[in-house]
Protein backbone atom coordinates (compact mmCIF):
# COMPACT_ATOMS: atom_id res chain seq x y z
CA UNK A 1 0.00 0.00 0.00
CA UNK A 2 1.18 3.52 -0.64
CA UNK A 3 0.01 5.08 2.63
CA UNK A 4 2.60 3.34 4.84
CA UNK A 5 5.57 5.77 4.34
CA UNK A 6 3.52 8.67 5.72
CA UNK A 7 2.46 6.83 8.86
CA UNK A 8 5.46 7.44 11.21
CA UNK A 9 5.39 11.22 10.82
CA UNK A 10 1.62 11.27 11.16
CA UNK A 11 1.84 9.38 14.43
CA UNK A 12 4.30 11.92 15.80
CA UNK A 13 1.97 14.70 14.79
CA UNK A 14 2.38 17.79 12.68
CA UNK A 15 6.12 18.71 12.43
CA UNK A 16 5.41 22.40 13.16
CA UNK A 17 3.54 21.41 16.29
CA UNK A 18 6.41 19.17 17.40
CA UNK A 19 8.95 21.93 16.82
CA UNK A 20 6.89 24.28 18.97
CA UNK A 21 6.63 21.67 21.72
CA UNK A 22 10.40 21.16 21.75
CA UNK A 23 11.02 24.92 21.84
CA UNK A 24 8.64 25.45 24.78
CA UNK A 25 10.19 22.55 26.62
CA UNK A 26 13.69 24.00 26.17
CA UNK A 27 12.62 27.44 27.40
CA UNK A 28 11.13 25.88 30.52
CA UNK A 29 14.27 23.84 31.26
CA UNK A 30 16.33 27.01 30.89
CA UNK A 31 14.09 28.83 33.37
CA UNK A 32 14.43 25.99 35.86
CA UNK A 33 18.21 26.09 35.53
CA UNK A 34 18.30 29.78 36.53
CA UNK A 35 17.66 28.91 40.18
CA UNK A 36 20.64 26.55 40.14
CA UNK A 37 22.79 29.25 38.57
CA UNK A 38 21.71 31.73 41.27
CA UNK A 39 22.71 29.30 44.02
CA UNK A 40 26.07 28.75 42.35
CA UNK A 41 26.63 32.50 42.11
CA UNK A 42 25.77 32.96 45.80
CA UNK A 43 28.15 30.23 46.92
CA UNK A 44 30.97 31.23 44.55
CA UNK A 45 30.75 34.98 45.25
CA UNK A 46 30.76 34.41 49.00
CA UNK A 47 33.48 31.77 48.87
CA UNK A 48 35.94 33.69 46.67
CA UNK A 49 35.74 36.95 48.61
CA UNK A 50 35.79 35.12 51.96
CA UNK A 51 38.98 33.27 51.01
CA UNK A 52 40.46 36.57 49.81
CA UNK A 53 39.57 38.01 53.24
CA UNK A 54 41.24 35.17 55.13
CA UNK A 55 44.38 35.63 53.02
CA UNK A 56 44.48 39.36 53.75
CA UNK A 57 44.33 39.15 57.54
CA UNK A 58 46.23 37.30 60.23
CA UNK A 59 44.26 34.38 61.64
CA UNK A 60 44.78 35.83 65.12
CA UNK A 61 42.73 38.91 64.05
CA UNK A 62 39.65 36.66 64.18
CA UNK A 63 40.02 36.38 67.95
CA UNK A 64 40.32 39.57 69.94
CA UNK A 65 38.39 41.85 72.23
CA UNK A 66 35.64 42.85 69.85
CA UNK A 67 34.35 43.45 66.32
CA UNK A 68 35.91 46.63 64.91
CA UNK A 69 36.39 45.88 61.19
CA UNK A 70 37.78 49.31 60.32
CA UNK A 71 40.53 48.87 62.90
CA UNK A 72 41.42 45.36 61.85
CA UNK A 73 39.68 43.66 64.80
CA UNK A 74 37.54 40.81 63.50
CA UNK A 75 36.48 38.93 66.62
CA UNK A 76 33.94 36.45 65.24
CA UNK A 77 32.90 35.32 68.71
CA UNK A 78 31.50 38.81 69.46
CA UNK A 79 29.06 38.47 66.57
CA UNK A 80 28.26 34.85 67.34
CA UNK A 81 27.39 35.69 70.96
CA UNK A 82 25.27 38.65 69.81
CA UNK A 83 23.37 36.51 67.30
CA UNK A 84 22.79 33.78 69.89
CA UNK A 85 21.56 36.22 72.57
CA UNK A 86 19.12 37.94 70.21
CA UNK A 87 17.86 34.64 68.79
CA UNK A 88 17.33 33.16 72.28
CA UNK A 89 15.33 36.23 73.37
CA UNK A 90 13.32 36.10 70.15
CA UNK A 91 12.56 32.39 70.56
CA UNK A 92 11.55 32.84 74.23
CA UNK A 93 8.79 35.11 72.90
CA UNK A 94 7.94 33.54 69.55
CA UNK A 95 8.26 29.88 70.59
CA UNK A 96 5.51 29.71 73.23
CA UNK A 97 3.30 32.41 71.67
CA UNK A 98 3.58 30.92 68.17
CA UNK A 99 2.95 27.35 69.35
CA UNK A 100 0.00 28.31 71.57
CA UNK A 101 -1.53 30.36 68.73
CA UNK A 102 -1.14 27.32 66.47
CA UNK A 103 -2.80 25.05 69.06
CA UNK A 104 -5.67 27.51 69.39
CA UNK A 105 -6.15 27.78 65.63
CA UNK A 106 -5.94 24.05 65.03
CA UNK A 107 -7.75 22.60 68.07
CA UNK A 108 -9.93 25.21 69.75
CA UNK A 109 -11.00 27.91 67.28
CA UNK A 110 -14.39 27.76 65.59
CA UNK A 111 -14.28 28.44 61.83
CA UNK A 112 -15.48 31.96 62.54
CA UNK A 113 -12.81 32.86 65.11
CA UNK A 114 -10.25 31.25 62.82
CA UNK A 115 -11.28 33.52 59.97
CA UNK A 116 -10.48 36.51 62.24
CA UNK A 117 -7.24 35.28 63.88
CA UNK A 118 -5.65 33.92 60.72
CA UNK A 119 -5.68 37.28 58.85
CA UNK A 120 -4.24 39.02 61.94
CA UNK A 121 -1.25 36.66 61.78
CA UNK A 122 -1.01 37.16 58.01
CA UNK A 123 -0.98 40.94 58.42
CA UNK A 124 1.73 40.65 61.07
CA UNK A 125 3.72 38.41 58.73
CA UNK A 126 3.45 40.96 55.92
CA UNK A 127 4.80 43.93 57.89
CA UNK A 128 8.22 44.98 56.54
CA UNK A 129 11.01 44.35 59.04
CA UNK A 130 12.13 48.02 59.00
CA UNK A 131 8.77 48.86 60.57
CA UNK A 132 9.32 46.28 63.30
CA UNK A 133 12.79 47.71 63.90
CA UNK A 134 11.26 51.16 64.31
CA UNK A 135 8.67 49.67 66.71
CA UNK A 136 11.41 47.99 68.75
CA UNK A 137 13.37 51.24 68.99
CA UNK A 138 10.52 53.69 69.62
CA UNK A 139 8.06 51.55 71.59
CA UNK A 140 9.37 48.22 72.92
CA UNK A 141 12.54 49.75 74.35
CA UNK A 142 11.22 52.92 76.10
CA UNK A 143 7.81 51.53 77.08
CA UNK A 144 8.76 47.99 78.11
CA UNK A 145 12.48 47.26 78.42
CA UNK A 146 13.62 50.52 80.02
CA UNK A 147 10.67 50.48 82.45
CA UNK A 148 11.56 47.00 83.64
CA UNK A 149 15.35 47.39 83.64
CA UNK A 150 16.72 50.77 84.62
CA UNK A 151 20.17 49.91 83.26
CA UNK A 152 18.98 49.45 79.67
CA UNK A 153 20.55 51.75 77.09
CA UNK A 154 18.86 53.48 74.11
CA UNK A 155 20.03 50.70 71.83
CA UNK A 156 20.03 47.23 73.38
CA UNK A 157 19.87 43.60 72.39
CA UNK A 158 16.84 42.82 74.57
CA UNK A 159 14.57 45.25 72.68
CA UNK A 160 15.95 44.01 69.33
CA UNK A 161 15.41 40.40 70.41
CA UNK A 162 11.81 41.11 71.41
CA UNK A 163 11.24 42.82 68.04
CA UNK A 164 12.64 39.82 66.18
CA UNK A 165 10.41 37.62 68.37
CA UNK A 166 7.25 39.46 67.28
CA UNK A 167 8.46 39.14 63.69
CA UNK A 168 8.78 35.33 63.78
CA UNK A 169 5.55 34.57 65.70
CA UNK A 170 3.53 34.17 62.46
CA UNK A 171 6.17 31.88 60.93
CA UNK A 172 6.22 29.51 63.92
CA UNK A 173 2.42 29.63 64.24
CA UNK A 174 1.89 28.76 60.58
CA UNK A 175 4.35 25.82 60.41
CA UNK A 176 3.16 24.40 63.77
CA UNK A 177 -0.48 24.74 62.74
CA UNK A 178 0.18 22.76 59.55
CA UNK A 179 1.80 20.04 61.68
CA UNK A 180 -1.09 19.94 64.18
CA UNK A 181 -3.73 19.83 61.45
CA UNK A 182 -1.92 16.93 59.78
CA UNK A 183 -2.63 14.75 62.84
CA UNK A 184 -5.47 12.41 61.80
CA UNK A 185 -8.91 12.92 63.35
CA UNK A 186 -9.03 9.29 64.39
CA UNK A 187 -6.32 9.87 67.02
CA UNK A 188 -8.38 12.64 68.63
CA UNK A 189 -11.54 10.56 68.47
CA UNK A 190 -9.80 7.58 70.06
CA UNK A 191 -8.68 9.82 72.90
CA UNK A 192 -12.18 11.26 73.42
CA UNK A 193 -13.54 7.73 73.27
CA UNK A 194 -11.39 6.85 76.28
CA UNK A 195 -12.99 9.73 78.13
CA UNK A 196 -10.13 12.22 77.89
CA UNK A 197 -10.82 15.91 78.12
CA UNK A 198 -9.97 18.35 75.35
CA UNK A 199 -6.89 19.64 77.20
CA UNK A 200 -5.62 16.08 77.76
CA UNK A 201 -6.28 15.12 74.14
CA UNK A 202 -4.46 18.21 72.91
CA UNK A 203 -1.42 17.98 75.17
CA UNK A 204 -1.04 14.19 75.43
CA UNK A 205 -2.14 13.05 71.97
CA UNK A 206 -2.16 15.78 69.31
CA UNK A 207 0.97 17.73 70.29
CA UNK A 208 3.15 14.60 70.73
CA UNK A 209 1.92 13.29 67.38
CA UNK A 210 2.88 16.57 65.70
CA UNK A 211 6.16 16.99 67.57
CA UNK A 212 8.51 16.68 64.60
CA UNK A 213 6.61 19.42 62.74
CA UNK A 214 6.75 21.63 65.81
CA UNK A 215 10.49 21.03 66.17
CA UNK A 216 10.83 21.98 62.48
CA UNK A 217 8.91 25.21 63.16
CA UNK A 218 11.30 26.09 65.98
CA UNK A 219 14.41 25.30 63.95
CA UNK A 220 13.18 27.36 60.97
CA UNK A 221 12.25 30.12 63.43
CA UNK A 222 15.78 30.11 64.85
CA UNK A 223 17.21 30.27 61.34
CA UNK A 224 14.97 33.21 60.52
CA UNK A 225 15.97 34.94 63.78
CA UNK A 226 19.67 34.59 63.00
CA UNK A 227 19.11 35.94 59.48
CA UNK A 228 16.94 38.91 60.47
CA UNK A 229 18.75 42.15 59.70
CA UNK A 230 16.75 45.35 59.90
CA UNK A 231 15.36 44.98 63.42
CA UNK A 232 18.86 44.33 64.74
CA UNK A 233 20.45 47.09 62.64
CA UNK A 234 17.95 49.64 63.97
CA UNK A 235 17.40 48.60 67.59
CA UNK A 236 20.53 46.76 68.78
CA UNK A 237 23.03 49.54 68.16
CA UNK A 238 26.66 48.56 67.86
CA UNK A 239 27.20 50.84 64.83
CA UNK A 240 30.84 50.81 63.84
CA UNK A 241 31.70 47.93 66.13
CA UNK A 242 31.16 46.33 69.48
CA UNK A 243 33.13 44.83 72.32
CA UNK A 244 32.54 41.21 73.18
CA UNK A 245 29.57 41.35 75.55
CA UNK A 246 27.01 39.06 77.14
CA UNK A 247 24.84 41.88 78.49
CA UNK A 248 21.44 41.92 76.73
CA UNK A 249 20.65 45.36 78.20
CA UNK A 250 23.51 46.97 76.33
CA UNK A 251 24.19 47.43 72.60
CA UNK A 252 25.54 44.46 70.68
CA UNK A 253 26.40 43.29 67.23
CA UNK A 254 25.23 40.24 65.27
CA UNK A 255 26.34 38.71 61.96
CA UNK A 256 23.55 40.51 60.12
CA UNK A 257 23.85 43.75 62.08
CA UNK A 258 27.59 43.84 61.40
CA UNK A 259 27.05 43.43 57.64
CA UNK A 260 24.39 46.16 57.58
CA UNK A 261 26.33 48.68 59.65
CA UNK A 262 29.53 48.08 57.68
CA UNK A 263 27.65 48.76 54.44
CA UNK A 264 25.78 51.74 55.94
CA UNK A 265 28.70 53.68 57.40
CA UNK A 266 29.24 57.21 56.11
CA UNK A 267 32.67 56.22 54.87
CA UNK A 268 31.37 53.36 52.73
CA UNK A 269 33.98 50.66 52.65
CA UNK A 270 35.84 50.32 49.37
CA UNK A 271 36.54 47.19 47.38
CA UNK A 272 39.72 45.27 48.10
CA UNK A 273 40.07 46.32 51.73
CA UNK A 274 39.88 43.75 54.50
CA UNK A 275 36.81 45.49 55.99
CA UNK A 276 34.97 45.24 52.64
CA UNK A 277 35.98 41.62 52.17
CA UNK A 278 34.84 40.79 55.71
CA UNK A 279 31.25 41.44 54.50
CA UNK A 280 31.49 38.31 52.38
CA UNK A 281 33.17 36.27 55.09
CA UNK A 282 30.29 37.09 57.45
CA UNK A 283 27.82 36.38 54.63
CA UNK A 284 29.37 32.96 54.13
CA UNK A 285 29.16 32.11 57.85
CA UNK A 286 25.55 33.30 57.92
CA UNK A 287 24.74 31.30 54.79
CA UNK A 288 26.26 28.08 56.17
CA UNK A 289 24.55 28.54 59.55
CA UNK A 290 21.05 29.20 58.19
CA UNK A 291 21.36 26.61 55.42
CA UNK A 292 22.24 23.84 57.89
CA UNK A 293 19.35 24.83 60.16
CA UNK A 294 16.92 24.91 57.23
CA UNK A 295 18.08 21.52 55.95
CA UNK A 296 17.58 20.00 59.43
CA UNK A 297 14.18 21.70 59.71
CA UNK A 298 13.19 20.34 56.30
CA UNK A 299 14.06 16.79 57.36
CA UNK A 300 11.71 17.15 60.35
CA UNK A 301 8.92 18.58 58.16
CA UNK A 302 9.16 15.66 55.76
CA UNK A 303 9.21 13.23 58.68
CA UNK A 304 5.74 14.49 59.75
CA UNK A 305 4.39 14.24 56.20
CA UNK A 306 5.52 10.65 55.85
CA UNK A 307 3.95 9.47 59.09
CA UNK A 308 0.38 10.36 58.27
Amino acid sequence: MSVTPAAPSLLGGDPARRRKERLVSRILVAAAMVSIVISLFIVLALLFEAIEFLRKIELSDLFGIGWFPRRGQFDILTLFIGSVIITIIAMLVAGPIGLLSAIYLSEYASPRTRSVIKPVLEILASIPSVVLGFFALTFINPQIVQRLFSGATVFNMLAAGLGVGVLIIPLIASISEDALRAVPRSLREASYGLGARKVTTTLRVVVPAAVSGIVAAFIIGISRGIGETMVVAIAAGGTGGSLRTFNPLGPGQTFTGAIASLATGSDQVQGGQAAYLSLFFLGLLLFILTLSLNVIGDIFVRHTRQRY
Binding site: G13, K20, S25, L28, V29, A31, A32, M33, V34, S35, I36, I38, S39, F41, I42, A45, L46, E49, P96, L100, S101, Y104, I117, V120, E122, I123, L124, S126, P128, S129, V130, V131, L132, G133, F134, F135, T138, I169, R197, V199, T202, I220, I226, G227, T229, M230, A233, I234, T256, I259, A260, A263, T264, L279, G283, L286, T290, L291, L293, N294
Partner: protein, 311 residues
Protein backbone atom coordinates in the same frame (compact mmCIF):
# COMPACT_ATOMS: atom_id res chain seq x y z
CA UNK B 1 -28.91 -14.47 94.80
CA UNK B 2 -27.95 -10.94 95.68
CA UNK B 3 -25.05 -9.07 94.13
CA UNK B 4 -22.80 -7.34 96.57
CA UNK B 5 -22.51 -3.70 95.61
CA UNK B 6 -19.35 -1.81 96.63
CA UNK B 7 -21.05 0.89 98.60
CA UNK B 8 -17.82 2.58 99.66
CA UNK B 9 -16.72 3.71 96.21
CA UNK B 10 -20.08 4.65 94.77
CA UNK B 11 -19.98 8.14 96.26
CA UNK B 12 -16.61 8.91 94.67
CA UNK B 13 -17.71 7.46 91.30
CA UNK B 14 -20.85 9.50 91.43
CA UNK B 15 -18.95 12.68 92.24
CA UNK B 16 -16.39 12.19 89.50
CA UNK B 17 -19.11 11.44 86.97
CA UNK B 18 -21.07 14.55 87.86
CA UNK B 19 -17.91 16.68 87.93
CA UNK B 20 -19.36 19.86 89.29
CA UNK B 21 -17.11 22.87 89.57
CA UNK B 22 -14.36 24.05 87.23
CA UNK B 23 -11.59 21.84 85.93
CA UNK B 24 -8.55 23.97 86.67
CA UNK B 25 -6.02 22.52 84.20
CA UNK B 26 -8.46 23.12 81.32
CA UNK B 27 -9.11 26.67 82.42
CA UNK B 28 -5.42 27.47 82.88
CA UNK B 29 -4.62 26.08 79.44
CA UNK B 30 -7.41 28.03 77.80
CA UNK B 31 -6.18 31.12 79.64
CA UNK B 32 -2.71 30.59 78.16
CA UNK B 33 -4.18 30.23 74.67
CA UNK B 34 -6.17 33.43 75.11
CA UNK B 35 -3.06 35.20 76.40
CA UNK B 36 -1.01 34.17 73.37
CA UNK B 37 -3.65 35.51 70.98
CA UNK B 38 -4.01 38.69 72.99
CA UNK B 39 -0.23 39.17 72.90
CA UNK B 40 -0.11 38.95 69.10
CA UNK B 41 -3.16 41.17 68.70
CA UNK B 42 -1.77 43.80 71.09
CA UNK B 43 1.67 43.74 69.44
CA UNK B 44 0.04 44.47 66.07
CA UNK B 45 -2.24 47.12 67.57
CA UNK B 46 0.55 48.93 69.43
CA UNK B 47 2.74 48.81 66.36
CA UNK B 48 0.08 50.43 64.17
CA UNK B 49 -0.79 53.02 66.84
CA UNK B 50 2.89 53.86 67.38
CA UNK B 51 3.47 54.41 63.66
CA UNK B 52 0.22 56.32 63.04
CA UNK B 53 0.74 58.46 66.13
CA UNK B 54 4.10 59.72 64.96
CA UNK B 55 3.50 59.71 61.23
CA UNK B 56 0.04 61.21 60.76
CA UNK B 57 1.03 64.73 62.01
CA UNK B 58 3.44 64.94 59.07
CA UNK B 59 0.57 64.37 56.65
CA UNK B 60 -1.76 66.80 58.42
CA UNK B 61 0.95 69.47 58.48
CA UNK B 62 2.27 69.05 54.96
CA UNK B 63 -0.32 67.06 53.07
CA UNK B 64 0.76 65.63 49.74
CA UNK B 65 3.90 67.77 49.81
CA UNK B 66 5.60 64.91 51.72
CA UNK B 67 4.98 62.56 48.80
CA UNK B 68 6.19 64.94 46.10
CA UNK B 69 9.31 66.45 47.74
CA UNK B 70 12.81 65.07 47.23
CA UNK B 71 15.16 64.03 50.03
CA UNK B 72 16.66 66.81 52.09
CA UNK B 73 18.69 67.33 55.24
CA UNK B 74 15.99 69.78 56.36
CA UNK B 75 13.23 67.75 58.03
CA UNK B 76 10.56 70.32 57.20
CA UNK B 77 11.25 69.93 53.47
CA UNK B 78 12.33 66.30 53.10
CA UNK B 79 9.97 63.99 51.23
CA UNK B 80 9.79 60.59 49.61
CA UNK B 81 9.35 61.32 45.88
CA UNK B 82 12.69 59.73 44.89
CA UNK B 83 12.03 56.81 47.22
CA UNK B 84 8.61 56.22 45.63
CA UNK B 85 10.16 56.19 42.15
CA UNK B 86 12.88 53.80 43.32
CA UNK B 87 10.32 51.48 44.87
CA UNK B 88 8.21 51.72 41.70
CA UNK B 89 11.15 50.66 39.51
CA UNK B 90 12.06 47.85 41.86
CA UNK B 91 8.47 46.61 41.58
CA UNK B 92 8.59 46.82 37.76
CA UNK B 93 11.92 44.99 37.53
CA UNK B 94 10.72 42.30 39.94
CA UNK B 95 7.57 41.87 37.84
CA UNK B 96 9.52 41.65 34.58
CA UNK B 97 12.27 39.33 35.85
CA UNK B 98 10.93 37.19 38.68
CA UNK B 99 7.34 36.53 37.61
CA UNK B 100 7.85 35.00 34.13
CA UNK B 101 10.94 33.13 35.31
CA UNK B 102 9.22 31.86 38.44
CA UNK B 103 6.04 30.72 36.71
CA UNK B 104 8.04 29.06 33.91
CA UNK B 105 10.13 27.17 36.47
CA UNK B 106 6.99 26.08 38.30
CA UNK B 107 5.45 24.83 35.04
CA UNK B 108 8.60 22.87 34.27
CA UNK B 109 8.70 21.32 37.74
CA UNK B 110 5.00 20.40 37.89
CA UNK B 111 3.91 19.81 34.28
CA UNK B 112 6.97 18.78 32.29
CA UNK B 113 9.37 16.90 34.49
CA UNK B 114 7.53 15.99 37.67
CA UNK B 115 9.48 13.31 39.56
CA UNK B 116 12.64 13.43 37.43
CA UNK B 117 16.10 13.65 38.96
CA UNK B 118 16.67 17.22 37.76
CA UNK B 119 13.30 18.24 39.21
CA UNK B 120 14.25 16.86 42.61
CA UNK B 121 17.55 18.75 42.59
CA UNK B 122 15.90 22.01 41.49
CA UNK B 123 13.14 21.52 44.05
CA UNK B 124 15.52 21.05 47.00
CA UNK B 125 17.60 23.94 45.73
CA UNK B 126 14.62 26.30 45.60
CA UNK B 127 13.49 25.40 49.10
CA UNK B 128 16.97 26.13 50.38
CA UNK B 129 17.11 29.42 48.46
CA UNK B 130 13.83 30.46 50.11
CA UNK B 131 15.51 30.17 53.52
CA UNK B 132 18.60 32.23 52.68
CA UNK B 133 18.59 35.49 54.73
CA UNK B 134 17.74 38.52 52.61
CA UNK B 135 21.01 40.26 53.44
CA UNK B 136 22.94 37.41 51.77
CA UNK B 137 21.04 38.23 48.57
CA UNK B 138 22.32 41.76 49.07
CA UNK B 139 25.89 40.42 49.00
CA UNK B 140 25.04 38.54 45.80
CA UNK B 141 23.67 41.78 44.33
CA UNK B 142 26.82 43.65 45.35
CA UNK B 143 29.19 41.04 43.95
CA UNK B 144 27.28 40.18 40.76
CA UNK B 145 24.82 42.88 39.61
CA UNK B 146 26.65 45.97 40.92
CA UNK B 147 29.90 44.32 39.81
CA UNK B 148 28.63 43.79 36.25
CA UNK B 149 27.36 47.39 35.88
CA UNK B 150 30.66 48.66 37.25
CA UNK B 151 32.62 46.48 34.83
CA UNK B 152 30.47 47.86 31.97
CA UNK B 153 31.34 51.34 33.26
CA UNK B 154 27.72 52.38 33.79
CA UNK B 155 28.04 54.93 36.57
CA UNK B 156 29.47 53.34 39.70
CA UNK B 157 27.28 50.30 39.20
CA UNK B 158 24.99 51.23 42.06
CA UNK B 159 21.75 51.75 40.14
CA UNK B 160 18.13 50.77 40.51
CA UNK B 161 18.43 47.98 37.94
CA UNK B 162 21.05 46.24 40.13
CA UNK B 163 18.84 46.80 43.18
CA UNK B 164 15.72 45.56 41.36
CA UNK B 165 17.50 42.45 40.05
CA UNK B 166 18.71 41.67 43.58
CA UNK B 167 15.18 41.85 44.97
CA UNK B 168 13.82 39.89 41.98
CA UNK B 169 16.25 37.05 42.71
CA UNK B 170 15.24 37.24 46.38
CA UNK B 171 11.52 36.69 45.69
CA UNK B 172 12.01 34.18 42.86
CA UNK B 173 11.84 31.12 45.17
CA UNK B 174 8.59 32.41 46.70
CA UNK B 175 7.04 32.89 43.25
CA UNK B 176 8.12 29.38 42.21
CA UNK B 177 6.85 27.68 45.38
CA UNK B 178 3.42 29.37 45.34
CA UNK B 179 2.96 28.88 41.59
CA UNK B 180 3.95 25.20 41.87
CA UNK B 181 1.39 24.75 44.66
CA UNK B 182 -1.33 26.35 42.51
CA UNK B 183 -0.48 24.06 39.57
CA UNK B 184 -0.45 20.98 41.80
CA UNK B 185 -3.97 21.79 43.00
CA UNK B 186 -5.38 21.42 39.46
CA UNK B 187 -6.84 17.90 39.23
CA UNK B 188 -5.20 15.39 36.95
CA UNK B 189 -8.55 14.68 35.26
CA UNK B 190 -8.46 18.09 33.57
CA UNK B 191 -5.13 17.25 31.95
CA UNK B 192 -6.31 13.80 30.92
CA UNK B 193 -9.40 15.29 29.30
CA UNK B 194 -7.08 17.52 27.26
CA UNK B 195 -4.80 14.69 26.18
CA UNK B 196 -7.90 12.60 25.42
CA UNK B 197 -8.98 15.00 22.67
CA UNK B 198 -5.46 15.01 21.22
CA UNK B 199 -3.97 18.19 22.71
CA UNK B 200 -0.19 18.45 23.06
CA UNK B 201 1.50 19.01 26.41
CA UNK B 202 1.91 22.73 25.85
CA UNK B 203 -1.69 23.05 24.64
CA UNK B 204 -2.92 21.29 27.78
CA UNK B 205 -0.71 23.47 29.98
CA UNK B 206 -1.48 26.74 28.22
CA UNK B 207 -5.20 26.32 27.64
CA UNK B 208 -6.38 24.11 30.51
CA UNK B 209 -3.97 24.01 33.46
CA UNK B 210 -2.76 27.63 33.53
CA UNK B 211 -6.24 29.20 33.43
CA UNK B 212 -7.37 26.87 36.22
CA UNK B 213 -4.31 27.68 38.36
CA UNK B 214 -4.26 31.38 37.50
CA UNK B 215 -5.91 32.78 40.68
CA UNK B 216 -3.48 30.84 42.89
CA UNK B 217 -0.49 31.95 40.82
CA UNK B 218 -1.69 35.56 40.93
CA UNK B 219 -2.09 35.43 44.72
CA UNK B 220 1.51 34.26 45.05
CA UNK B 221 2.71 36.97 42.68
CA UNK B 222 0.95 39.75 44.60
CA UNK B 223 2.37 38.48 47.91
CA UNK B 224 5.89 38.29 46.43
CA UNK B 225 5.53 41.83 45.12
CA UNK B 226 4.55 43.10 48.55
CA UNK B 227 7.57 41.34 50.04
CA UNK B 228 9.81 42.84 47.32
CA UNK B 229 8.68 46.39 47.99
CA UNK B 230 9.24 46.10 51.76
CA UNK B 231 12.79 44.71 51.67
CA UNK B 232 15.52 47.02 52.95
CA UNK B 233 18.44 44.78 53.91
CA UNK B 234 19.47 43.62 50.40
CA UNK B 235 19.25 47.18 49.02
CA UNK B 236 21.67 48.53 51.64
CA UNK B 237 24.29 46.31 50.03
CA UNK B 238 23.08 46.61 46.47
CA UNK B 239 23.93 50.28 46.43
CA UNK B 240 20.83 52.25 47.45
CA UNK B 241 21.83 55.78 48.52
CA UNK B 242 21.35 56.30 52.26
CA UNK B 243 21.96 60.03 52.42
CA UNK B 244 20.13 62.64 50.35
CA UNK B 245 21.02 63.24 46.74
CA UNK B 246 19.65 65.27 43.88
CA UNK B 247 17.98 63.67 40.90
CA UNK B 248 16.57 66.91 39.51
CA UNK B 249 15.71 66.73 35.83
CA UNK B 250 16.93 63.17 35.35
CA UNK B 251 15.30 61.53 32.32
CA UNK B 252 14.25 57.88 32.19
CA UNK B 253 17.78 56.62 31.52
CA UNK B 254 19.16 58.90 34.23
CA UNK B 255 16.67 57.44 36.69
CA UNK B 256 17.55 53.88 35.77
CA UNK B 257 21.36 54.13 35.85
CA UNK B 258 21.84 57.05 38.27
CA UNK B 259 21.86 56.93 42.07
CA UNK B 260 18.67 55.53 43.58
CA UNK B 261 16.94 54.87 46.84
CA UNK B 262 13.75 53.13 47.95
CA UNK B 263 11.02 53.63 50.50
CA UNK B 264 12.27 51.05 53.08
CA UNK B 265 15.80 52.47 52.78
CA UNK B 266 14.73 56.08 53.35
CA UNK B 267 12.61 55.01 56.30
CA UNK B 268 15.58 53.11 57.77
CA UNK B 269 17.87 56.08 57.27
CA UNK B 270 15.48 58.50 58.97
CA UNK B 271 14.96 56.10 61.88
CA UNK B 272 18.68 56.03 62.60
CA UNK B 273 18.99 59.84 62.70
CA UNK B 274 18.88 61.26 66.24
CA UNK B 275 16.41 64.15 65.67
CA UNK B 276 12.78 63.49 66.63
CA UNK B 277 11.60 65.30 63.44
CA UNK B 278 13.22 62.60 61.32
CA UNK B 279 11.61 59.88 63.45
CA UNK B 280 8.27 61.42 62.52
CA UNK B 281 9.20 61.51 58.85
CA UNK B 282 10.25 57.84 59.15
CA UNK B 283 6.84 57.00 60.64
CA UNK B 284 5.10 58.91 57.83
CA UNK B 285 7.14 56.96 55.28
CA UNK B 286 6.15 53.74 57.06
CA UNK B 287 2.47 54.67 56.72
CA UNK B 288 2.98 54.85 52.94
CA UNK B 289 4.88 51.54 53.03
CA UNK B 290 2.19 49.85 55.15
CA UNK B 291 -0.61 51.14 52.89
CA UNK B 292 1.16 49.60 49.87
CA UNK B 293 1.75 46.31 51.76
CA UNK B 294 -1.82 46.10 53.08
CA UNK B 295 -3.35 46.86 49.67
CA UNK B 296 -1.24 44.09 48.14
CA UNK B 297 -2.11 41.60 50.88
CA UNK B 298 -5.79 42.57 50.87
CA UNK B 299 -5.84 42.01 47.12
CA UNK B 300 -4.20 38.61 47.59
CA UNK B 301 -6.74 37.54 50.24
CA UNK B 302 -9.60 38.83 48.05
CA UNK B 303 -8.34 36.91 45.02
CA UNK B 304 -7.90 33.77 47.09
CA UNK B 305 -11.41 33.94 48.50
CA UNK B 306 -13.09 34.95 45.26
CA UNK B 307 -11.55 32.30 43.07
CA UNK B 308 -10.95 29.53 45.55
CA UNK B 309 -12.80 26.43 44.45
CA UNK B 310 -12.68 22.83 45.47
CA UNK B 311 -12.52 20.39 42.61
Amino acid sequence: MSIETPTVASGAVHRSLKRTGPHWPSLIFQGLLAFSLLFTLLALLFLLVDVLNRGLPVFTARGMDFLTSPLSSDPTKAGVSQALWGTFWIGVITAVVAFPLGVATAIYLEEYAAGSRLTRIVDVNIRNLAGVPSIVYGLLGLAVFVGVFKALDIGNGRNVIAGGMTVAVLVLPIVIITAAEALRAVPIAIREAGYGVGASRWQVTRQLVLPAAFPGILTGIVLSLSRALGEAAPLILAGAVLGSYSSGGADLVGQLVGPYTALPIVVYRWTTLPQEEFRQLAAAGMIVLLVITFIANGLAIYLRNKYSRSW
